[in-house]
Symmetry: C6
Subunit: 206 residues, 6 copies
């Protein structure tokens, strides 16, 4: 894969994140899409919630997992290829799925029982045993069920909405960075309305 075709793949990777973010109910609004590298990352799709959040509902977390899968899924749909570029996405979505199952009681198979500790890095202190081996296996199976279901849905979505995906990738070829209104317009998706509350807050800011 030469340099040009790789940059081309990046455009689709970011477009995938963005489009899944626009079309998945419960996902945070897409604020910006860019293929200008930042530090380790090759591009960035910035999705932030409307307001400071204290908690997330199960469907919002599932939406986050789908958005994280969007980059990898776009590469698979368009190029039939999987790359190392999705590593951080996979780590993030795995952490969310494990927390849904092990900290937030969102898996019927595990129930309202804490089976992993709450630290973000997923590490346990030595000797800490939050769950027996069969329970650990059940956690793995539930995580896999959640992620597989999400990936299936995302691949289906991007295949069905290929025209919008191509439009976004093409726009990134010309502009490298799209702000929120541009991104939604290019994709042909209606931009989400602000909450009354937030609009008030936005107005109130100096």
């Amino acid at each position: 894969m030469n340099v040009e075709s790789r940059i081309h793949a990046y455009r689709y990777h970011e477009s995938g994140h963005a489009l899944v973010g626009m079309l998945t109910p419960g996902a945070d609004p897409v604020r910006k899409v860019s293929i200008i590298p930042r530090g380790q990352a090759l591009g960035v799709t910035l999705s932030t919630p409307e307001t400071d959040r204290f908690s997330y509902a199960q469907d919002e977390l599932l939406a986050k997992i789908k958005v994280a899968l969007g980059g990898r899924a776009a590469e698979r749909v368009v190029f039939d290829e999987t790359t190392t570029g999705a590593e951080a996405d996979i780590q993030n979505l795995t952490q969310i799925a494990r927390s849904m199952v092990g900290r937030w009681g969102m898996s019927e198979a595990i129930g309202a029982v804490a089976v992993t500790d709450g630290r973000q890095d997923g590490l346990l202190l030595p000797g800490s045993l939050p769950a027996s081996f069969p329970t650990q296996q059940l956690v793995d199976e539930e995580v896999r069920r959640i992620v597989d279901g999400a990936e299936h849905a995302v691949i289906e979505l991007l295949t069905r909405e290929r025209t919008r995906l191509d439009a976004l990738a093409h726009a990134l070829l010309e502009h490298e960075t799209l702000d929120q209104p541009e991104a939604y317009e290019v994709a042909g998706v209606e931009m989400p309305k602000l909450d009354a509350t937030e609009e008030a807050k936005a107005t109130a800011s100096p």
Copy 2:
């Protein structure tokens, strides 16, 4: 879920804790219900025992587990939704259930044998082996049995007592904080009487 509907969910979350606390025999009396955020928490239901406690009976611990499940159960009953907001509740009730099984001899399946150490954070020192793997699995199963039974009962209770739950949530919309007499009155539940001993103590205090 927009900001307003999220705050609405918080009201039911706290009302769920409070109502389960009022209606479960053995639970500590509810002292205050509030949806004014404090630090990390979005609201608080304050339940304190009548007097300094040295020990708890099995039914009192089960009541604590039910009260902890009350917030999550209210969200499920009213909105059919599970959120990350119950994380601390789940950690607390898991710790109680694990201690019932592993420290306090309250599971017939484990018997009067200590199989977890007593530290509150549930961590073991490295290499510490309080029980073999099959025993750890049995602990998990017993914890699950206790929590599932409690959750089933709480959901049944809140579904049956939906009117009182709505009344509490509505009152929190108007007042944000309810003290003990207000909370019991809004819910239409008789306030628990103080012990003679405690009344004497209360009278004795300056």
Copy 3:
């Protein structure tokens, strides 16, 4: 459970320890029974051996386990209730039972082989593997067998000797603390005689 009934339960808890100590061959003599709280403990039954001990026989260790179970068993026999108050008892008796099996060769199933290390806190250094997993499971099963057998015997004893148990609990209501002669007299149990050796020693002391 109000304060008064809880204190009532403590009286039976301590009476249970004391009565099992008086009626179990091989148990150390009961020196004092008290329900005056000391530090973390709600009451205390003081049983000390007649003389400095270098070693214990298997039946003496089993007697220690039974005495430790006496408090919990009394609460179950009288109130049909299990409380967190037995936590320290359970830790102690588990430690004795595990040592009988894993350090002192007192289980036919394990034999004269050391399978746990000798530290009192039951902790191993990281990575230390004194026994394979099947052996660890066998240790658990043997510990359970010893403790279950002891608990069965203790509950039978206290049910049969309920009159003496009530007498001790009643006396603690009036006196809060019973010394050795009082406790044995209230329970209607003959006080153990001192060894000739020990008597000599007692006489010899200034």
Copy 4:
């Protein structure tokens, strides 16, 4: 094995790396082949990508694994012998294969789930449990499947292209070090063309 025959084996080891690098689509171009020892290494085949790389596609990673296997495979094909000289190759290719399976979502059997942490040395912090035991076993099986498939292909390739392999080994006998054009010419393989981009960059450099 005497010194001379061992040096002879090294020539084939390096020639194997080089030839697999030249003939495997997706492999980085071979820049230099040398049997002059450097530090611990007996020889070196330098393969660098055309440009700075941010990510790798699955087929490029598989090519890396094949190139790493090329040295060991040449020794097996030519001398029917396995030596300790491939240790570093085996560590590298194992790390790539484990990352494909556990970090980059490139195994259907594991899916887009992170099951190993991302540190290069493959070590976990104590107590860290990124996956249950059955999942760890599945990772092992997938790693084995990837490596076995690659080794089968590489042995087939070197057996089929034995003439080119002999030519490279013979050239290393005369010259000890071959630069990129020499290596490709000796092997009779067409040298890869530079990207337009890279050529521009190359021209632009002072």
Copy 5:
């Protein structure tokens, strides 16, 4: 068990060690038997080899295990009782048996493979994995086989030689400490002859 009967048991415990040491081929000669407590130990049977030793044969190690079991076995044969007094003996003989199996290749089931590390305290560094779980289980089974066989033989020996055992215990009642010639004479066992070499050395010492 009163003080006098306990001291009586100690006499048999030490006599058991001593008599097994005298009657087991390959055991080190018994130098002294004493029931005067030293530090933690209640008594001591001192058995030292004839000369500085560099290595031990399998039958000599088995003899050490039997001598270690002699104290516990004497208590079982004479009093049908097991006490905590054998803890140090059990730890020592377990360490020898584990080393025979895991370090010295003396178990056919494990073979000439090192499966435990050589440190005397039997501890491994964290994460150290000298053997898989099935191998650890096999080690346990072999250790058990060695120790059970030795204990069977020792109990048989002491039952058969009860008269000599009684004689030693009786002599310790009168003298508390027996030196080598006294101990062998009391037991009616012929004292082992010194090696010619050692005699020479003994003569040579100032």
Copy 6:
């Protein structure tokens, strides 16, 4: 076993190492055989390669394992006895066999996959998981297969070549140390020729 017969066993132990080293193709030449103790070791058979080595072939490693087994095998063949004196030999050969299987891809059952880390002491950092439990078991089985096969061959060799073994042991009785020409002559084995390269080097040295 008295002192003299033990020293006699040492002579055969060292003779076993030496004779296996002389008669096993791929083994390093035997430079010296001595029964003069050095530090912890009772004797020494010095085998060094002809030249500095960068890598070893599989048959050379198997030869090292056989030479390490030679001492223990000689004691078994001659005295039908196993002693602790082979501990260091067993540790060394186990380390080689584990590395063949887990680091150098020399077991078909494991393949060209690194499943143990490369540190000489065989220790892993805490939490490090280079392989799942079934793979660890497979490593153990492969190690056992390699070592058992080697031991079988070595015992057969020493039984067949008993005359040479006796000759070496007898020579060590008279001389305590044999240099390379003496050892080969006593054993009646032709001394290996130096490489032309090495001879040149030897000549070149001042």
